[in-house]
Symmetry: C2
Subunit: 344 residues, 2 copies
């Protein structure tokens, strides 16, 4: 009766449950984990919860894992500190797998996880570490698409507000954006760093609008920073968005759809990214041999009102989208450097 | 070396850790939990992650628990379904305590938790169940303060967008707002239900602006709904906020501070609420006897630009606040009905 998936009649089940309840019996999941060598716990390390992308990821992840009978042990990683001690603690609980969302993995800990037979999936990050799987959006191709979108709309003075500089997402987004601008014969006019922080992105926007030549289009490496840039443009510099400056973002989070922002953003489809993550993890758990996979989940450029719109938009799933005539291959630098095959 | 708080010299610690690492030894937290009868896991059930209040709570809670050597097993509760099956699962992991944030507790499960010696703290909710502790903000007094604020600013046609109707927070906020309006001789002109949902709050605002006599002030039972109401007022009805309509909220979440919204909101201080929650839980865990406590954490009405400002604002912690001349006692209806003493 207490073993998930075991065969028992409904009548027997009810009798046993009633008896158990009257005796105060409770199956001890910990004791069972020790016997089965499987805790049905997935350790999740996450950072940046103020960026609405991650609560959405956490919600979806938790619901899918719950439906499969797994549970989620949550670790919040401070942006300044190493995740290693927390990862150690997660492994002490004999987790069946580890998901690292917006958190970097050290090669030392990756090796320890592999030695302990614990599969590791990086979510929205990649790493050079060959033991860890990854699930990402189209960071390179999506950012390249935004470059084309700006150029097609006639923008000439294009700027970038970069994310946290040591992250794979920022490296790939910046590189996709710059590569495509270069192909189109446009130079990136200005660059500031917002480090994926609301406050730092607002500071970056203040520099772009208050000093030097003002850009007419800004790509923010995520929507959370794009909100900060729009606020500064409107409320501190009296600029019209997109009349005076076009602003685009990345992720397509909930607030990007709020009419005050209506952010043109390259989408990261959370549902499909979470599905990919779980399929890697559970594949490894069931086969009992971690298989390293790198999955890139494709997205679309969702067109809203925060950036000037060039010709060529189409409709998909009741949303306005824009596709580049040239589709850039997703050439993320991390695990794609010939080491591992990329799936889509 | 592997027992938290045990006395061991730094030199010995290093030697043992080195030996353990070379042997691939890892302390098994599950086995240790069985022996110690304590898992150092706190089960957290939460709902409504799209309301930024809860990710902020989760982040603070997780960081505080981590610092104390506890870990957080996360359960996301679907708004439509009962939390009982998830609560059962949490108890199966022999959690040391349970926190229920924005989730209702059935008396059956509360009794089971008590029988199992597991302390339960309701966070941002109260219940009539005598076994569960609670931590809330000043739902009654804070909402009463917003009523006074509207009346002091000269508003006559005052409306309410209520939250989820079967929750203690909504009951207390609505009752505080109505009670104070009544004392001031003002009738609540209109009432709609937004059920703490962005979409439903937008629908409620459409009814308030599109049908019948338009209110000149709206109290939304949380900030998440206030954002929806502001969006509808401006973008669908071309109304100026607060020129045509004042809008106030509750919680003081991050987005309430974004200049586009600048929501006048009664604050729920997450840091102090989390501290109160942890002190109840760990007090019970350490004493090994659950003590039921009800803590109300006081807040302030933070004055921003979304509502017309009456005279009498002051400054506190670099924020503009407003205090009512009459301070209503916090008279939440749940556990306060003479059953348990309320602490502040």
């Amino acid at each position: 009766v207490f073993t998930p998936g075991a065969s028992v009649s409904e009548e027997t089940r009810k009798k046993v449950l009633k008896a158990a309840s009257s005796l105060g019996y409770r199956p001890n999941a910990l004791a069972r984990s020790l016997i089965a060598g499987r805790s049905r716990i997935i350790g999740v390390l996450v950072s940046y919860l103020s960026n609405q992308f991650y609560p959405e990821v956490l919600e979806t992840l938790s619901q899918r894992l719950q439906a499969l009978g797994f549970h989620l042990l949550l670790f919040i990683v401070d942006e300044e500190n190493s995740a290693d001690p927390l990862l150690q603690q997660a492994m002490d609980y004999q987790v069946d797998g580890l998901i690292m969302a917006s958190v970097s993995l050290s090669s030392k800990l990756a090796a320890e996880a592999v030695a302990a037979g614990i599969p590791v999936v990086m979510f929205n990050r990649t790493s050079d570490i060959s033991e860890a799987s990854s699930v990402t959006g189209e960071n390179f191709a999506g950012s390249a698409c935004i470059a084309s979108f700006f150029v097609a709309a006639g923008h000439k003075k294009i700027a970038l507000i970069a994310g946290q500089e040591n992250t794979s997402t920022n490296r790939d987004r910046e590189s996709g954006f710059r590569t495509r601008l270069g192909q189109l014969g446009v130079t990136l006019a200005r660059r500031e760093v917002g480090a994926y922080s609301f406050t730092q992105a607002a500071e970056a926007a203040r520099r772009l609008f208050g000093e030097g030549e003002r850009p007419d289009a800004i790509f923010c490496a995520n929507d959370h920073m794009a909100i900060a840039a729009i606020e500064v443009a409107r409320n501190e510099f009296g600029l019209d968005v997109p009349g005076d400056v076009s602003i685009a973002g990345f992720d397509d989070i909930g607030p990007a759809r709020w009419p005050s922002y209506a952010i043109t953003s390259f989408q990261q489809p959370i549902d499909r990214m979470v599905d990919a993550c779980i399929s890697i993890l559970l594949g490894s758990v069931i086969d009992n041999s971690p298989v390293v996979r790198h999955i890139v989940v494709p997205g679309e450029l969702i067109v809203r009102a925060s950036a000037r719109v060039p010709p060529g938009t189409t409709e998909k799933d009741e949303q306005k989208i824009w596709r580049d005539s040239v589709k850039m291959p997703e050439m993320a630098s991390g695990p794609a450097r010939g080491k591992a095959k990329k799936e889509r």
